[in-house]
Amino acid sequence: MPETDLRDTFGNFLVDMGKVNNNIVVLDADLSSSTRTFKFAKEFPDRFFNMGVAEQNMVGTALGLAISGKIPVVSGFSIFTTGRAWEFIRFACHDNLNIKIITTHGGIVGKDGSTHNALEDLSLMSTLPNLTVLIPSDNIELIKILEYTFNKDGPIYIRLPRGAFPTIHDENYQFSIGKPDILKEGDDICLIGTGYGSILALESALEIQKTLKISIKVINLPSIKPIKKNKLINEIKNTKGVVVIEEHNIYCGVGSILARIISENNPLPMKFIGIDNSFGESGIRELLLNAYSLNVKNIKEKIIELIKIN
């Protein structure tokens, strides 16, 4: 059975939340069919506001709804929402308002091309005080993240992909804010991924262990901000090096955040896999990921380089 799009899981979850919490209102910028907020719109037309192609006013309106006691969910494409409306989001964070920014089309979108990729959103969002930044790596984790999001007061950004991810968690998975999620134990090298990066990390570790005689640990990091640094350091301190894998520009991305935490607390050699200072281009997503270094071969090379350092 094919995997469900994370967008659909999000759209269905919103409908369920709408039934139990009348304060939830949803705003979209003319993309409700893509983001799946149309499901909420159909069920609760009075609590859905299509703001047209106007992300700034969409987030500004959400600020007003939030100060009036509503719980606004703002959706749209990741780069348009975080980019065009960044300063409005900054004000939501400045005032610590209860606004949930949940976008789709994070990372490489595929055939729509470079203009629609979101390879800078995590930098834009992680620099904002008060904001929680979350990325699911599969549908199970997404549901846990959404449950957390609607039980927690304050601004939260969630980045979803355009399509589906394979399931890497079982139903007993517990999401804990700020805590690294161990996908695979190992002693020598640690791969840390987020979102699709976690899927690729796990797949690569299993593949690479067949040929390289090393033990690889795999950590999934659903919570980019906050990160509980002691828990992270405990997990990596006995390994000889770390490779960070993210579907994002490696300049000011998750790798940069981890490099700061690791170098300050428990310095280890690190390598970074992500999009290297590029906007990307059009094409089939799988081919693009491969072309822009997110592949098993590249991860294996980085691991070999780290082993050589040691």
Binding site: D46, R47, G52, N57, T61, A62, L63, G64, I67, S68
Partner: protein, 281 residues
């Protein structure tokens, strides 16, 4: 409704006291925006004193009308008015812009002071007002949302996104007031980025529009009555005002947009405001 002479006199004296506080605050801080604070002090005071539904005992009263100072650089005017109506202690006014003060250079959300949301980056307040107005409609609450816009900030595209949304959602509980003093930082609004025909633009966006002489209290009070004629649409009051109003050397000039008076200027400004006060009494 015409204000009685006694009531009008009392209002004018209150506004002059507020203006004196504005000058003192900015002088003491040696930093701030006198021009655009003096231009709109009368509107903000009139809103809180005569127009808006508020509870002077409780700034967080749930049935209150909402005021958003979109032109956040007029913070001294807002703070001085909030002090006059009892939400901020007067002593605190003179900590403006100090390290550790509750009164930053631009307003920061502070429910205890009646400051609903932070502002200061221009062009954001009308969108926030749209959100408040939608929330009030959802909750069937009969409250009005007042947003004070500077004319310079109408250059921001987000204002016009919000203008579209306000009329699309028929937000008749949303009332924008434009401080049409005609001067922005670099020069006159028409020189820098022409806004005229401004009333026609708002009309084209589906708003009920009136022009008033904002320096005339009676005309302003009547303006808030007159906009009630527009049913099922948001309203905008284009209020012709004077930048730096009531301090001769700050009037009609961009020089004091964001510049504090020196000692001589400060004393002259206070003296002029006191002279006006004496002429009224």
């Amino acid at each position: 409704m015409e204000l009685s002479k006694t009531v009008e006199k009392k209002l004018l004296i209150d506004i002059l006291a507020i203006k004196k506080d504005i000058i003192k605050m900015i002088y003491q801080a040696q930093s701030g925006h006198p021009g655009g604070s003096l231009s709109c002090a009368n509107i903000i005071y009139l809103l809180y004193n005569n127009i808006m539904k508020i509870n002077r005992e409780n700034p967080q009263w749930s049935e209150r009308d909402i005021f958003i100072l979109s032109k956040g650089h007029a913070a001294p005017a807002l703070y001085a008015v909030l002090s006059k109506i009892g939400f901020i202690k007067r002593d605190e006014l003179f900590t403006l812009r100090d390290f550790g003060s509750n009164l930053q250079g631009h307003p920061v959300k502070n429910p205890k002071f009646g400051i609903e949301v932070s502002t200061g980056s221009l062009g954001m307040g009308l969108s926030i007002g749209v959100g408040c107005a939608l929330a009030a409609k959802l909750d069937n609450e009969p409250k009005n949302i007042y947003v004070l816009l500077g004319d310079g900030e109408l250059d921001e595209g987000a204002i016009w996104e919000a203008a579209l949304a306000g009329s699309h959602y028929k937000l008749d509980n949303l009332i924008a007031i434009v401080d049409r003093n005609g001067i922005q930082i670099d020069g006159s609004t028409e020189e820098i980025m022409g806004l005229e025909p401004l009333a026609d633009k708002w009309k084209a966006f589906g708003w009920g529009v009136i022009d008033i002489n904002g320096s005339n209290l009676n005309e302003m009070i009547k303006g808030f009555e007159r906009v009630k004629q527009f049913i099922g649409k948001p309203k905008v009051i284009i209020s012709y005002l004077i930048k730096g109003a009531d301090v001769s050397f700050m009037q009609h000039t961009r020089k004091y947009h964001g510049r504090a008076p020196n000692k001589t200027e400060y004393e002259k400004a206070l003296k002029e405001l006191e002279e006006i006060e004496r002429s009224i009494v």
